[in-house]
Amino acid sequence: MKTRARLPRLVATGATLALALSLSACGDGDGGASGDDGKIHVLVYGDATNKVEKQLVDTFNKTSDVKVVLDTIPGADYQQKLQTIINTPQAPDVFFNWGGGSIKPFVKAGLLLPLDDFIKKNPDLENKFLPSVFNNAVVDGKPYGVPMRGTQPVLLFHNKKVLDEAGVEPPKTWDELLDAVGKLKDEGVTPIALGGGDVWPTQMWFQYLYDRIAGPELFQKALGGDKSAWESPDSKKALDMIRELVDTGAFGKNYDSVKYTNGGSVQLVAAGKAGFELMGSWYYSQQLTDHPEFAEKDLGYTAFPAVEGGKGDQANVAGNTNNYYSVMKKTKHPEAVAEFLKLMYSDQFVKAQMDIGNLPTTTNTDKFIETSGTPEYSRFQYDLVADAPSFQLSWDQAYPQKASSDMHKAVQQFFNGQLDTDGFIKAMQALPTE
């Protein structure tokens, strides 16, 4: 009686298994990235900009014999995933990266194709991009990456209404900032919103202060392996200033529980509960999406304030210079790849990027700024980057990937007082530089 009921069930299970196996076999045919299937695999960071990347791939595939397949990996795990597969048959032909330290280990392991041959054949591949940006993908004198998205300098954003009510002008110097903080505190708002829960927003403060006080050379020295850079008086001065800022209550008390990535700090500014936020240029479009009324009327932006007596050029910029496509040495279709890379300075590319709020770093970008969705903002950004003598790459991208976790820990612990100046210095000195 019950046995009869059992049999059909087992059969059904078996059938499902067989069906699934055959389906998986189908999946193997077109899904796999392994081996040479006559296509170029381009791997990118998974986020809203993929729209543009897909567009370009479609355009390319219309006229190319060798087709491009776009693979995406969810942002948070992009670097882990890439490192796992880079030395296996699953590695892509072309992949997205942040230049600097994110590709140095790969260069050292001999995995990347130097692009100077491509550039010899097609000089545009280099000179159509802003130099400060292009140079960030140069390792040991050879170019390894082509910029493929927009530049993301870090700017100081503010809520105009909140500042007006406190009688504060957007600060141009550090002292003005401290003054503004004091006035905002008196008004009962959190002077500066900070997504401490994500840690990388906290890091941005270090990036700028170090650059303003000591110039980019200090960081470059440290990156080159000179540990004494961290102990220098300039370094200690920067740390003291940060400590001073935190201790005045500029960031409030609960910033470590606030995240940028779930909209927490964004909302603070938009709702008028905070005056400032230091964030990458994508902040503007984020506010436009989440809080359009606020963004259109009251969102203001300035460059990071100048620090009096600082050695760094006050026009320097910090942030993500851009993202790059690098090419694997073992790619089987280098000519097709070179053709594909040409699209990265095409007019189509520039227009598509600007439509979604990114600011490309090509020389023809200038033409399109007036027609972009946010002309004033784009103009401000573009001029800032074009005029910047130096563009400091985010620290966690400049250092090799494997240092980022410990770097973040040190940053967070210094801010909330668990590490003092010496502790921070030691932690930074312990970071691997290659």
């Binding site: 019950k2 059992r6 999946g27 995406t72």
Partner: protein, 272 residues
């Protein structure tokens, strides 16, 4: 028999209802509000708008394909578990041999192995076998890690089958095989349902294996799709939660169907 209402238990369950109900309400409410409404007013406020956009956004980003993939993975994992575990549990409960005892210990110890500990060698195993970026490469490890718990649950359920029934069948000259199909399997339906639900849960919500062992969009599962919603620059909590709710519905249905059997099945685990 007098039954005074149990105020303490009642109060306790009310508190728990609040603790469970509030987040679930927030989640559902968030999916029915516009992004602006959620961003302006925060998660706990009463909704100011109504929209089904969050769900359509979820589908637009490819959730149809992800659902299908997850369905395939879940079905296959259940299949493998149903194929391998009942004979295993039967042996554990009935066999007197030392090998079987050792095998049981092996599985008990297997409970202690976290999936993320073996993920790197797993990647190489799967990749060498040519199963990278293939649903089968996700199915096999996921099923393997369901085995210890399923063995524990099912052997617990089978323990309840009284020895006299076996003896009665033995007197009729039944082989172990007959006893398995005619006695053990029908009587452990509760346990079987439990391991089905358990394995289904593992497969449906599995994250680590798909993350490391798949790459292209055509093999993405729902959990990865959810992860896609979270990027550094694009914050879309209502959309994310919409996808979460969608991903929860199938498994909720399975649970609703199997509920009674589920309780019966876990009865055996607790032992009588």
């Amino acid at each position: 028999m007098r039954r005074r209402p149990n105020y303490l238990a009642g109060a306790g369950s009310l508190l728990w209802l609040f603790l469970v109900g509030l987040p679930l309400y927030v989640m559902l409410a968030a999916t029915l509000r516009t992004r602006q409404d959620y961003a302006e007013n925060g998660p706990v406020s009463l909704p100011d708008s109504f929209t089904l956009d969050n769900y359509t956004r979820a589908f637009d980003s490819g959730f149809g394909q992800y659902f299908f993939n997850t369905l395939v993975v879940t079905a296959c994992v259940i299949g493998i578990v149903l194929l391998l575990v009942p004979p295993l549990a039967y042996a554990i409960v009935r066999s007197r041999g030392r090998t079987t005892s050792a095998i049981f210990r092996l599985f008990l110890l297997g409970l202690a192995i976290p999936a993320q500990a073996v993920i790197v060698p797993m990647f190489y195993l799967i990749s060498e076998a040519g199963l990278y970026d293939n649903l089968l490469g996700v199915i096999l490890p996921t099923a393997a890690f369901c085995l210890p718990m399923s063995a524990l649950i099912l052997s617990g359920a089978m323990r309840d089958i009284s020895p006299e029934l076996y003896e009665a069948m033995a007197m009729d000259g039944a082989t172990p095989r007959r006893m398995f199909f005619q006695l053990v399997v029908p009587l452990s339906r509760g346990g079987l349902s439990t391991i089905v639900v358990f394995s289904a849960l593992q497969a449906w919500n599995g994250f680590l294996f798909p993350l490391v062992l798949t790459q292209s969009d055509s093999t993405k599962v729902v959990t990865l799709g959810l992860y896609n919603f979270q990027t550094a620059h694009g914050i879309d909590i209502p959309g994310l939660l919409g996808a979460v709710v969608l991903s929860m519905v199938p498994i909720l249905l399975v649970y609703l169907f199997a509920r009674r059997a589920l309780v019966q099945g876990l009865m055996g685990v607790g032992g009588k």
